[in-house]
């Protein structure tokens, strides 16, 4: 479906945000869309992008210029059309009675949490935002409490975002709920923390996607219940169910 781009700008640092027309079709935080880069066949496949907001008839995505597809995407201008399919996949579904909502975000993986917070303004959320350096922390989210970690120490704590999470007092509480999106290593660490601390958690996984709607089987995720598709059975999976491969 072709949608008109209303705004397309740099967020400073490595990320860009694109807003295009989209009706409020009930899309939920954690879900994603598939963006076609061009009408030509190269690049061929659509690129999966998390929904970073849906409000007042506009959908936002926030992306990192990572390779050829996203570089070409960055050249699109406001007023032009972008071909987007979705929304696809599962969403974050934090339990109503959770004592604390802890959001662990790695780099551009913070994008879905912007939408999550916007849709849950009245729920208190603590953000843990990590990246290699300052440039990777470019998404600003109005969390009720925010902690940062950078591998080079340029912002707040030097080290991994999961270390900051472990130091947080809420971790002592079994009724806390952790949600995470970011690189695989981070997700795996969060998964292990959830299991060890017996805290419920949800992880949003990134896999290569051919279609985004369940038919190519390119996005298999090994779980305790056999192969699942990241695009329809995920991207958000329950912590403690993934079989990680090295």
């Amino acid at each position: 479906m072709k949608r008109k781009i209303i705004r397309h700008e740099s967020l400073g640092g490595r990320y860009r945000s694109m807003d295009f027309e989209w009706p409020d079709d009930g899309a939920k935080p954690g879900q994603f869309v598939m963006v076609r880069i061009s009408d030509s066949t190269d690049p061929l496949l659509r690129r999966p992008m998390s929904i970073a907001n849906l409000e007042d008839g506009l959908m936002s995505i926030i992306y990192n210029v990572a390779g050829r597809g996203t570089s070409l995407m960055a050249e699109k201008r406001a007023g032009e059309a972008v071909d987007v399919l979705g929304p696809f996949g599962t969403s974050f579904d934090p339990p109503k009675n959770a004592s604390h909502l802890l959001c662990v975000m790695g780099g551009v993986g913070a994008a879905p949490f912007l939408f999550l917070k916007k849709r849950n303004k009245d729920r208190k959320m603590v953000g843990f935002y990590g990246a290699a350096n300052k440039d990777g922390l470019g998404i600003s989210i109005p969390m009720d409490e925010m902690h940062f970690a950078t591998e080079d120490g340029s912002v707040e704590k030097r080290g991994l975002v999961t270390d900051v999470l472990l130091e947080h007092p809420a971790m002592k509480n079994r009724d806390a709920h952790i949600m995470a999106c970011g690189p695989k290593g981070m997700l795996r660490a969060v998964d292990e923390i959830c299991v060890k601390h017996k805290i419920s958690g949800e992880l949003s996984l990134e896999e290569r996607m051919g279609c985004g709607f369940g038919v190519c089987l390119g996005c298999a995720v090994e779980t305790d219940a056999g192969n699942k598709r990241a695009c329809v059975d995920g991207p958000v999976f329950k912590a403690g169910t993934i079989r990680w491969r090295t």
């Binding site: 190269d42 061929l44 051919g210 369940g214 038919v215 190519c216």
Partner: protein, 304 residues
Amino acid sequence: MANMKVRIGSLELANPVIAASGTFGYGVEFADKLDLRKIGAFATKGLSLKKRAGNPMPRICETPSGMINSIGLENVGLDAFESEKLPLIRKTGARVVANFFGETQGEYVAAAARLDAMDGVHALEMNVSCPNVEKGGIEFGSDPVLLEKLTASVRKAVRKPLIVKLSPNVADVRPLAMAVQNGGADAISAINTLKGMSINVRTREPKIRRVFGGLSGPAIRPVAVRMVYECATTVKIPIIGLGGITTVEDALEFLIAGATAVQVGTMNFVEPSICERLADELSKWCDAEGIADVNDLVGSLKLG
């Protein structure tokens, strides 16, 4: 309006556009994306007697105007297909080509016989790009003697139209097309994916965990058109042409090369309603060009 109906053996299709195996799930996933009754048919994901988990990740990567996949023939198996998928598929009113494979001739025959008995399966498409575990892993589709034997034994077991899907990973496709015809199949589909490989130069790892995978998409189209032409000029049975079809012109190229029908694969991922659009555009193209019957285009290549 031009006649769009084509025949594949005893099966009549409303139009020549079929969705290709492995790119259309079990059809039901597309029920909200297009009108399944407006396309000729769809082919299911390749089915085997028992369910299969498939290959480790990563299974796909993008290449110039194409992609490589190594899904490993993951599928739900015939039991779940019959009890869970087929009842839903029947409700859509779609024409169904059941794509299947095995690791031994016995498995092929058993799978084919079961599909032949299933209500709601209109035709069978045999994927022969699979290693024969009894013959040291040589692909069924690469040896004419093996292929003719396999085709003949499956033929004996089924009454529904039997299509054999040829692999392009052979030096000469013509003896294989001949073997399929001699074995008694109703039609040939060509081509399956081309064996390919792609490397991440930074990590020096193959982009696909299993190193090799099947290349598909617009990149393979000229190879596919050539092979369809070779098949069509070798055998009398109808050919279903596929490989990289993206536009109505691409579909026409296959028809003119000698295909009676076409399949659209990878592009279903990019544009999920493409089969319906191409069926519609093909009909409009015939009308605009004053072609009364789409079958008149088949094999109409003019050589100088």
